[in-house]
């Protein structure tokens, strides 16, 4: 028995050093393209000639099977490096799918050696799984004497056919499929995406290839879960393989804590945004007037303001979350997509402006907007200013805020309420600080007659805001509707005048009359129909425009904007409308695209969601060579914009 075993192993070892080796269902051999002994690097190839009907596997074998394993045995000073796997083919065993090779295949490996050393032999233990309808693990121990080997053209052919070229693709998971778009200049019979990762995709049902025209194709791969963040693989187009490396827009690129931090910073910055500034400046003024006052009163006023801010943020957040969870694609600032809301805000701004300018005093909370020392115990005024500040702030998206709110709204749940609270806290931060340290108010200038002048002056930012809202209103509706709104403004003016001038019964009769008149006008307000005047220099946005342009290697800049978004309008003036920017776009051949969200538009909401945003402004830029488009800063000047595109 022992002798037989010895004889058998001797037989095996003679088999092992020979080249080629019959492994059972294949013939394995070690070949090279080494031409002469002066080459520092060259290739060796393991050639597998499989019997008909048998196959071996790619690095991701598919539903079953196994890739080969090669263990090299080389002298010191020699390094063998894996190169790329040859382009695999699909070997279907419905309902299962496997990826691999049939017939005659060469697996190339790159060899580096030190020229100081003599050429010697190179050996490999090649373990592989070979399958027909059944599978058998087979192995070959191959040795090649490099000093006497003749170059084999099959190695060069195999290297030439390796899928080393990278193909540009754009992928997104939609429903239960990954959709990968790519460009190919010839008609395609058949294409297959071989993913390297074995746990992301389903291999059945089969992949679908559709031609989108203009050399653009889209292949759909069933996914196992929709959290595919990145993958790599080989796209085989009629047998020719290309490398794919894909990073998908992650659905959870931000953590809750990060979102809360961003919300906090964003809220703080919101104070300086143009739409909030007039209201905030009034608040600052009222605090100035409290200089030298009782600290507890300052504290209470500050806290009332903070309370107003926080409760409004909370209400807006709750409303947003509830509406979002019903599937409606609304976002931050959405309330301004309604002309009625814009109209009411216009009147509020106008009213505040009138009160400030005329210095009318009436015993309503409104007066504490200013510096009314008389009603200093009326904290409801401070609270209301907080509410108002948030309401007028809503069309503004400060830097950082967009990302945080996008995060909160794209997963509508009350678990994201802390993000909105953080936003409110950031916004109210300076006043909260004031509540904690009322003595700091003494650092502000002393109150005096200058305050009355300044208060009157602040009427103008308020009226300017009203003017801007009127423009938004006109864009949303029509010039006729605007006249009706102005008429309401007139009635409001009369009402304020009557409250201040008349006493007793007449006051209330006058109020009732103006109220009825206002209702009459209000009922005649039309629905929104308009939109921003088309910008002739900009192309119209569509959901597919990015993938289309990327496929054409065309650089682009997208401007998500709306008439009611004053940050957008500011950027429009300080960046997009500048000649320098226009020239840059023309010179660099960058397609400029505008997406106008003045009115409700589900498609644009979906487009924003792609960037995890629910509000604007949002600026997107891409040029050939960039792996994916990038988001530009929310506050732009011509220099920032041009620099961001370089």
């Amino acid at each position: 028995m022992k002798h037989i075993f010895l004889a058998f192993s001797l037989f095996l070892s003679t088999l092992a050093v020979s080249n080629p080796v019959e492994t059972g269902h294949a013939r394995a051999s070690l070949i090279t393209n080494l031409q002469n002994s002066q080459q520092e690097s060259f290739y060796v190839g393991v050639r597998l000639e499989m019997q008909e009907g048998w196959h071996t596997y790619w690095e991701n074998p598919g539903d079953s099977g196994s890739p080969f394993e090669a263990k090299w045995n080389v002298d010191e000073g020699v390094i063998v490096e894996n190169v790329e796997w040859p382009t695999p083919i699909t070997i279907p065993y419905p309902p299962l799918m496997t990826f691999g090779y049939e017939g005659d295949v060469v697996f190339p490996f790159k060899v580096f050696r030190s020229l100081d050393l003599e050429l010697s032999s190179i050996s490999v233990d090649f373990d592989f799984l070979i399958c027909a309808d059944i599978c058998i693990p087979e192995k070959a121990s191959l040795t090649l004497d490099l000093s006497s080997a003749t170059p084999n053209v099959l190695v060069d052919e195999a290297i030439q056919k390796l899928p080393l070229k990278i193909i540009q693709t754009e992928s997104a998971v939609k429903g239960d499929g990954l959709k990968t778009k790519f460009k190919f200049s010839q008609p395609i019979q058949d294409a297959y995406l071989f993913p390297r990762q074995d746990n992301l995709f389903a291999y059945t049902p089969t992949q679908q290839l559709v031609s989108l025209g203009d050399d653009l194709y889209e292949i759909t791969v069933p996914v196992l879960n929709d959290e595919v963040a990145s993958f790599s693989g080989i796209l085989s187009i009629d047998g020719e393989g290309f490398q794919i490396e894909e990073e998908l827009e992650s659905s959870s690129s931000m953590s809750l804590w990060q979102a809360i931090l961003f919300a906090l910073i964003g809220g703080l910055i919101l104070n300086l945004m143009p739409c909030v500034f007039p209201v905030i400046s009034l608040k600052v003024l009222s605090f100035v007037s409290m200089g030298g006052d009782d600290n507890s009163k300052i504290r209470n006023h500050a806290l009332s303001f903070v309370g107003g801010v926080m409760s409004t943020f909370l209400s807006i957040a709750t409303a947003l979350i509830i509406i979002r969870s019903t599937g409606s694609m609304i976002g931050w600032g959405y309330q301004l997509q309604s002309p009625a809301v814009v109209g009411i805000l216009t009147l509020i701004m106008l009213g505040i402006g009138l009160i400030l300018l005329t210095n009318i005093n009436f015993a309503s909370g409104l007066t504490t907007l200013g510096s009314s020392v008389q009603s200093r115990n009326d904290y409801s005024g401070s609270f209301f200013t907080g509410v108002l500040a948030v309401v007028v702030a809503s069309p503004c998206t400060a830097p950082f805020m967009g990302a945080a709110i996008g995060y909160a709204l794209l997963q509508p749940s009350f678990a994201t309420l802390p993000i909105f609270l953080a936003l409110g806290l950031g916004f109210a931060g300076p006043y909260l600080l004031l509540a904690l340290k009322p003595q700091w108010i003494s650092a502000l200038p002393q109150p005096g007659a200058w305050m009355e002048t300044l208060k009157q002056f602040f009427a103008f930012p308020m009226i300017a805001t009203a003017l801007w809202l009127m423009w938004v209103f006109m864009v949303q509706t029509s010039g006729d509707a605007l006249i009706l709104l102005l008429l309401l403004g007139l009635i409001l003016g009369i009402a304020i005048w009557m409250i201040a001038t008349f006493k007793g019964r007449w006051k209330w009769i006058g109020m009732l009359a103006t109220f009825l008149a206002a209702m009459q006008v209000f009922n005649n307000l039309p629905e929104n129909t308009g939109g921003m005047v088309a910008d002739s220099s900009a192309e119209e946005w569509s959901l597919d425009i990015e993938s289309d342009l990327q496929a054409q290697d065309q650089a682009y800049l997208i401007n998500f904007t709306a008439a009611w978004c004053i940050t957008c309008q500011t950027n429009e003036k300080t960046a997009f409308a500048r000649d320098k920017v226009k020239e840059y776009l023309t010179d660099q051949n960058i397609t400029y695209i505008k997406a106008d969200w003045t009115n409700r538009n589900e498609e644009i909401a979906v487009g924003l969601a792609k960037y995890e945003r629910t509000g604007i402004p949002l600026y997107i830029f891409w040029k050939p060579g960039m792996p994916g488009s990038k988001i530009l800063p929310a506050v732009l000047t011509e220099d920032i914009l041009i620099k961001a595109m370089q």
């Binding site: 009907g53 065993y93 599978c135």
Partner: protein, 210 residues
């Protein structure tokens, strides 16, 4: 053999439309496991809903598959079965090979294999039509599933962490993390498992693909 393969290949091409209709399911983890009905090697009908109250482990098997063969030759599968027996877990070995294909066995042969290998499955289920395999999305032999006493699917995937690759044939079972035996306690406790879904490795399940 060769003619048979050619025949299968021809059938596969001519019936490729039908083949596309076959849908492998992908049952979700931590949800109710699909209720299967299958016949065991003694002709008795076994239904998952009848087994409620006991945890169940499913093992897709094919005694001729080299992966399965190694697990049995080295007594690895039997020792896990024994652990399951001792823990009161029902162990079902499922054979989904189609008649004429590798691993397909008669009921008698199935019982003989159990005896000769010293295996201790509660039942060996003969799933000739591959219906149970498709229902569970079984792709390889072995392919393991763990269902708790409430009928909740707790695990699907590989038997251990050796994974696909030729290293399997040299790897030590003792050094590997066995996903089934190491998570039996949690299965009995009706808990969600730490590792609940992995990529199964092995030979393909020999479904009737023509």
């Amino acid at each position: 053999m060769k003619t048979f393969v050619t025949l299968l290949a021809t059938l596969a091409i001519s019936n490729s439309v039908n083949a596309a209709d076959i849908k492998l399911q992908n049952p979700p983890i931590n949800e109710e496991a699909p209720n299967f009905i299958a016949v065991n090697s003694y002709g008795k009908t076994i239904q998952l809903s009848d087994l409620k109250g006991s945890p169940v482990i499913l093992e897709w098997t094919n005694h001729e598959c080299p992966y399965v063969a190694r697990h049995y030759n080295e007594n690895n599968m039997q020792s896990i079965q024994k652990m399951a027996n001792d823990a009161g877990i029902i162990w079902l070995s499922v054979i989904s090979s189609t008649p004429g294909d590798q691993g397909h066995v008669s009921p008698e042969k199935a019982n003989a294999l159990t005896d000769s290998r010293g295996a201790s499955p509660t039942h060996v289920l003969l799933d000739e039509l591959g219906e149970m395999g498709m229902l569970y999305g079984a792709k390889t032999t072995p392919h393991m599933y763990m269902i708790d006493a409430n009928g909740i699917l707790r695990y699907k995937g590989a038997i251990d962490d050796i994974g696909r690759g030729m290293q399997f044939f040299n790897a030590s079972f003792n050094k590997a993390i066995n996903y089934v035996s190491s998570q039996m306690d949690q299965l009995i406790a009706n808990e969600s498992l730490n590792i609940n879904s992995t990529t199964a490795y092995g030979c393909s399940v020999k479904y009737n693909y023509d």
